[in-house]
């Protein structure tokens, strides 16, 4: 469905892209390309979770038209790298499913903080609902953001002293500094 209109990078049709490259420089380029491909693909299908076993046979890791698929070992190598960059959190110890953020909480935090400052909301309290579903944020990239991810992003801001999460009855809000 949505995947059909996704614009694959040139590498996707390049058969050796699906073989882990022995040359370390080339491998580095390859892994980087895979990282950005995974993120943009997930963004395109608007997915926040990734099931490794399930994804093995999805068109992301299996290009049917050239009959090439990425090995499980390579998939894990790429996911580990994404984890180091803060894009992934494993949901189980056996690493079967992960929470995937095509933008890191840090990046989301920056986007939200920038918006709050521009909208003159410093020193005011906003509810979480206002941030993700309010009329004021319509058209913002973080409009409709998953609650979990929102909390992660705001926690980053909190640790930087740019915001404070406030527990209110029934709902939660955030105060920007």
């Amino acid at each position: 469905m949505a995947a059909s209109s996704f614009e694959w990078p040139w590498e996707y049709n390049f058969p050796p892209f699906f073989t882990l490259q022995p040359n370390l420089d080339t491998r580095e380029k390859q892994l980087q390309s895979w990282c950005s491909l995974i993120l943009s693909y997930q963004k395109h299908i608007k997915s926040h979770t990734l099931d490794v076993v399930e994804m093995q046979t999805s068109s992301l890791f299996y290009n049917k038209s050239i009959e090439r698929k990425l090995s499980l070992e390579s998939i894990y190598l790429i996911l580990d790298r994404l984890e180091k960059k803060g894009h992934i959190e494993w949901l189980d110890k056996s690493k079967k499913q992960c929470y995937l953020m095509w933008r890191t909480p840090q990046e989301w935090g920056n986007t939200i903080y920038k918006w709050a400052k521009e909208a003159g909301l410093v020193n005011t309290v906003c509810t979480f609902y206002e941030l993700t579903d309010g009329d004021d944020t319509a058209g913002q990239e973080f409009h409709g953001l998953e609650p979990d991810l929102l909390v992660k992003a705001l926690k980053v801001l909190e640790s930087q002293g740019k915001a404070e999460i406030i527990e209110m009855d029934e709902s939660r809000g955030v105060k920007f500094f």
């Binding site: 040139w10 049709n13 073989t19 090439r68």
Partner: protein
């Protein structure tokens, strides 16, 4: 005695005559030189006239530019020999190629992460045309070759390698031997080579084939594909991107 006297005179006369001949000789040479420089002046004026008249053509029309370059080459003039001087001032021909050179370097650097610094000349031309965009000045393969030749003064970074029907630009230092070029040539149609292809078509032994392919893997020019049906394939991004477009 008398005879001896005559003899002395004769020698003197001979010396005198030789001196006169010499004078006359240098006079003639001077004349010729004058004439030559006059002719050169005339030639120069004509060339200047020609250049001024066709300045726009030279800048805009790659075909014309090529003919102009060829004409200059036949009479032993290299309009690109110096950035300053008459040519650059009159035509901006020098500037044209230097500018192009800089843009070539930019494009090659920007794409080297994907092709290991080996790029199809036609692909390079397409990329340049799209980046130059606005001015819409047509550039030809011939222009690119000349500009790349000029880049040689910066060291051995840029080389044009003929591979069958096309040209590849190599923008990373590192010599490609005849063997490597032969492998590239073999891969021209498909984008890849395999050990059996090399054995059957180039008639090389195991070791020679491996040495050539290993080097190209090491330089980042080739990628391995383990999932091909029978044996490993070695792909070249520089050749693949072109297949992609066709």
């Amino acid at each position: 005695m008398r005879r001896r006297g005559i003899g002395m005179g004769a020698i003197k006369n001979k010396n005198l005559a030789q001196a006169r001949f010499k004078d006359k000789g240098s006079e003639l040479a001077e004349d010729q030189l004058n004439q030559m420089s006059k002719q050169l002046d005339v030639f120069r004026t004509h060339l200047e006239d020609f250049a001024a008249k066709h300045k726009d053509d030279i800048r805009k029309d790659p075909q014309f530019r090529k003919h102009f370059q060829e004409m200059c080459a036949t009479i032993g003039v290299d309009p690109l020999a110096s950035g300053k001087g008459f040519w650059a001032e009159m035509l901006g021909v020098g500037d044209f190629y230097y500018e192009l050179g800089v843009q070539i370097v930019e494009v090659c650097l920007a794409t080297s992460h994907r092709n290991g610094g080996l790029m199809d000349l036609e692909e390079l031309r397409q990329k340049l045309l799209s980046t130059r965009g606005k001015r819409k000045q047509e550039i030809s393969i011939d222009d690119l070759m000349r500009a790349i030749k000029k880049l040689k003064v910066l060291g051995n970074g840029f080389t044009v390698i003929p591979v069958g029907g096309r040209y590849l630009v190599q923008s990373v230092p590192g010599e490609l031997s005849m063997d490597h070029t032969a492998v590239l040539q073999l891969a021209e149609d498909t984008g890849y080579v395999s050990m059996s292809m090399i054995r059957d078509r180039l008639k090389w032994g195991e070791e020679r084939s491996h040495r050539a392919v290993d080097y190209m893997l090491k330089e980042g020019l080739a990628w391995v594909d383990d999932q091909a049906p029978q044996e490993k394939h070695f792909w070249f991004p520089a050749l693949f991107s072109n297949l992609d477009q066709e």
